[in-house]
């Protein structure tokens, strides 16, 4: 590469208007070009943006896809979530390590290839999976790994996609081996819609009537929290503020969720349509899609859809010929941080900051992106909005169950015959769902991802809906051979890695919870440890600042509630010497003994 760091930094920064708020794009671009954002680069960026160096460093050090130390030209990120693990990701990891001659976290001596682990990349229906830079490789086996490594060794830019997946995965701008795995379509999301149909309907109404229609449809957010969408739009619309914003949450980081991936692949028009309707309803002229770095392979295609919509008059000045309604959408890439799916952290990230959540109040609807009133909605929610406009609130409210109306996309993975996407009406029971996806010998189902709950057979008669078993879409199925405590451990490790570290209970409490669980798994736990876990978990839930910490103890607490015997079977009786069983005195005095050159006479 002939481009010097300095000229690259200058070019990238000026492309971004030397705007400090575009920090994410700037550091991502430098990372892409040079394999890291070095200390030197940080200085240059700070200077170019007339900001402080520590602000650049704080961003670079926050996101897992950014690094201040050089990585290989190719970074292989192996998904290490529980579903991949059940499908043999350990063998795949070993195969990569052997073929490359390096361990996880290392780079080959020639500086070409780095091997890493990464949390859920949204491919649980085609496991084990990995990312090779932005290219997703799925259904991996040690034999396939051998082939991939051979290709990469010959040429770091080698094409790894022999056969592209179905639908738009085969589009020239996507060309991914990813499969959609749409196992069941419904009438809301995976049905046809003429581009512009929903917008035209909306534009016939006054903005406040659009909001009234969405409210009447009883639509609730599909991203997990289930907040009524019409109400959120009303708050945003009512809030004083010169400039308002529509943000689409395409961060899809909850382990086991991959439904937004499929919407982004197959129904992006509908999502953009819903965002545009929202823009009209709340009087915004800017929309932003926050796209997780793991889905970078979809970016070019999404940009092309945006470009087409612009030339068709569905975006830009006077949308659909409506004077005074200008609306456009840009895509903001993430850089590997689950917390950025939390709406205020997402806003921080869009503003070029660390992905720290913000204090509430003010809520985003009052003061969000760039301090303007902002509605943040999930990908699927925007699609529902488009459908509500097209078919009417009554039609939409007629599907589903009680207060949970419309359909829900479920991302089903794990021990079942047909993993994939299922569009189901709300109110389906767990039993019905298990049958639908061909699950046998099911012992437990994790509903709602890592932050959700692990339920057992007693709960299989319950319904998937907001008032019973709520889920943003993640359903992970475990048969009777799985060790559920290991699953809980995996999820806790995820939260420890993904906590932003802003507040004490989440930053420190999750580490303590994980350690307590590890103690039990190591066969050194006592009955009192269960009590300790319950109390500590309660503190983390009650005192944490955002939804991450308010749910992160769930993997342990819900397995403890629903599968207590599994824990009890591992407990040991308190030791007679009065020490905790987990206390290893030899290890504790080891350093001192080494310095003294002899064993402590009192210690044993």
């Amino acid at each position: 590469m002939s481009e010097t760091l300095e000229s690259a930094v200058k070019a990238v920064c000026s492309e971004c208007g030397n705007d400090r708020e575009r920090m994410m794009d700037i550091v991502r671009a430098i990372q892409g070009k040079f394999g890291c954002v070095s200390s030197e680069a940080m200085d240059m960026i700070a200077k170019q943006l007339a900001t402080h160096r520590v602000e650049v460093e704080s961003v670079v050090s926050f996101y897992s896809f950014l690094s201040d130390r050089p990585k290989g030209k190719v970074v292989i990120r192996l998904c290490d979530d529980i579903i991949d693990e059940m499908a043999g990701s350990a063998d795949v990891a070993n195969a990569f390590a052997t073929e490359l001659g390096i361990g996880i976290g290392e780079t080959t001596a020639d500086g070409k290839i780095t091997l890493e682990h990464t949390p859920c990349i949204g491919m649980c229906d085609q496991v084990p999976a990995a990312m090779v830079n932005d290219v997703v490789v799925t259904n991996l086996t040690p034999a396939k790994v051998k082939d991939i490594v051979a290709k990469l060794k010959a040429d770091v830019d080698a094409d790894l996609v022999d056969a592209p997946g179905d639908g738009n995965n085969a589009n020239d701008l996507v060309k991914a081996m990813v499969q959609n795995n749409i196992q069941q379509s419904g009438d809301v999301i995976f049905a046809g819609m003429e581009p512009g149909a929903a917008i035209k309907k909306a534009l016939e109404m006054a903005p406040k009537d659009v909001i009234a229609e969405v409210t009447k449809s009883k639509l609730r957010g599909r991203g997990g929290a289930g907040f009524p969408t019409g109400l959120k739009w009303k708050f945003t619309s009512d809030a004083p503020g010169a400039e308002k914003f529509v943000l689409c949450n395409a961060d899809e980081g909850e382990p086991g969720t991959f439904k937004d991936r499929v919407i982004l692949t197959e129904q992006p028009d509908m999502m953009f349509e819903g965002m545009t309707v929202a823009g009209y309803a709340i009087d915004a002229s800017t929309g932003v899609v926050y796209l997780r770095a793991e889905y970078a392979y979809l970016r070019e295609y999404l940009e092309s859809v945006l470009a087409r919509r612009r030339s068709d008059g569905l975006l830009g000045k006077s949308v659909c010929g409506k004077d005074g309604f200008d609306f456009d959408i840009r895509i903001q890439m993430g850089a590997g941080a689950y917390i950025c799916g939390e709406e205020t952290a997402l806003i921080s990230s869009c503003e070029g900051l660390r992905g720290d959540p913000k204090n509430r109040p003010p809520f985003p609807a009052q003061e969000g992106y760039k301090a303007g009133p902002t509605t943040v909605n999930n990908v699927e929610t925007f699609c529902c909005c488009a459908r509500v406009m097209e078919k009417g609130a009554d039609w939409f409210a007629g599907i589903g169950d009680g207060q949970s109306v419309g359909t829900k996309l479920l991302s089903i993975s794990g021990d079942c015959g047909k993993p994939g996407i299922y569009e189901v009406p709300f109110g389906i029971t767990v039993d019905e769902m298990l049958k639908m996806c061909g699950a046998k010998d099911t012992a437990a189902v994790q509903v709602g991802g890592a932050s959700g709950q692990m339920i057992g057979k007693n709960d299989f008669g319950r319904k998937i809906c907001y008032d019973d078993l709520a889920t943003g879409g993640s359903i992970m199925i475990f048969n009777s051979k799985r060790d559920l405590l290991k699953v809980a451990e995996k999820f806790m490790e995820f939260f420890v890695d993904e906590s932003c570290g802003y507040c004490t209970p989440c930053r420190a409490g999750n580490v303590l919870l994980l350690n307590a669980l590890k103690t039990i798994l190591a066969g050194k736990g006592e009955a009192s440890d269960l009590e300790y876990i319950e109390t500590l978990g309660n503190t983390v839930i009650k005192a944490s600042r955002c939804g991450l910490g308010q749910t992160s103890p769930n993997p342990i607490l819900t397995t403890l509630k629903n599968f207590r015997p599994a824990y009890e079977a591992l407990l040991v009786a308190p030791s007679k010497d009065g020490y905790q069983v987990s206390f290893d005195i030899k290890a504790a005095v080891g350093d001192a003994a080494a310095i003294a050159g002899r064993d402590s006479v009192h210690a044993y």
Partner: protein, 237 residues
């Protein structure tokens, strides 16, 4: 619009002003809510969570939550104090705090809040993290072992000193306080008289060559528990 707001804290009715946080209203009424990351003159941070109170039964941080008419706030209850003790314990074990030979002992807010909450020693297992010291500056040093990530130095430097000496890097349990230079504190424009240095509630930012000038036993919290100054306001409204 009326210019007072009535709310209840621990069964006592108090008046606050519109725009105040629960903590500000409580302070003015002489009710102490324990805190670490909050400091007069700085924008609330809401990070330590020690000031967690129940507002109409829901946990909120008193330093960031605005008052509203008729809200019922629980502050001194067994449940809340248990949560606060857990949080303070977490702060102790996630760092390396050795009160017995820390220069800040007696002036340390972490220690003082712990004593006030009845903590003699943390109950959680120590993590013994590797944090690092920066003693490069002639007059000031950073001991990250004792840093509780409250962000007071960050905000004080920005908002009171008009500089930007500190920031946070890393995330989760790897989060650390960092300085605005590619190397060390000495390469920043910090000065020993900066408000940022005074803002540290613990012994993470200390001045050199003044250690133990005030003997242990004669320090701020040696005689009166933390919060006593606030409680002196009691009944003054």
């Amino acid at each position: 619009m009326s210019d007072t707001i009535t709310l209840t804290i621990d069964g006592v009715e108090i008046q606050g002003k519109p725009g105040q946080t629960i903590m500000e209203a409580a302070d003015a009424a002489g009710i102490y809510i324990p805190r670490l990351c909050a400091m007069d003159g700085l924008v609330p941070h809401g990070s330590c969570r020690v000031c967690t109170v129940m507002v109409n039964g829901r946990p909120q941080s008193a330093c960031t939550q605005p008052i509203a008419p008729g809200i019922v706030v629980d502050n001194e209850t067994d449940e809340i104090n248990a949560i606060r003790r857990d949080i303070v314990d977490m702060l102790f074990v996630e760092g390396n705090h050795f009160c017995m030979f820390c220069e800040k002992s007696g002036n340390c807010e972490l220690q003082a809040v712990a004593y006030r909450l009845g903590i003699a020693a943390p109950r959680f297992p120590f993590q013994f993290p590797d944090c690092g010291i920066d003693a490069s500056h002639p007059d000031i040093f950073i001991d990250r072992d004792r840093c509780i990530l409250c962000g007071r130095c960050v905000r004080a430097s920005q908002d009171l000193d008009g500089k930007d000496v500190f920031g946070f890097v890393g995330r989760g349990s790897e989060k650390r306080i960092a300085v605005n230079s590619d190397a060390k504190l000495k390469d920043t424009n910090i000065d020993v008289t900066d408000k940022a240095v005074e803002a540290c509630p613990v012994g993470a930012l200390l001045k050199k060559r003044v250690g133990f000038a005030v003997p242990i036993g004669q320090r701020k919290y040696d005689h009166k528990p933390i919060g006593s100054d606030i409680e002196q306001n009691k009944g003054s409204l």
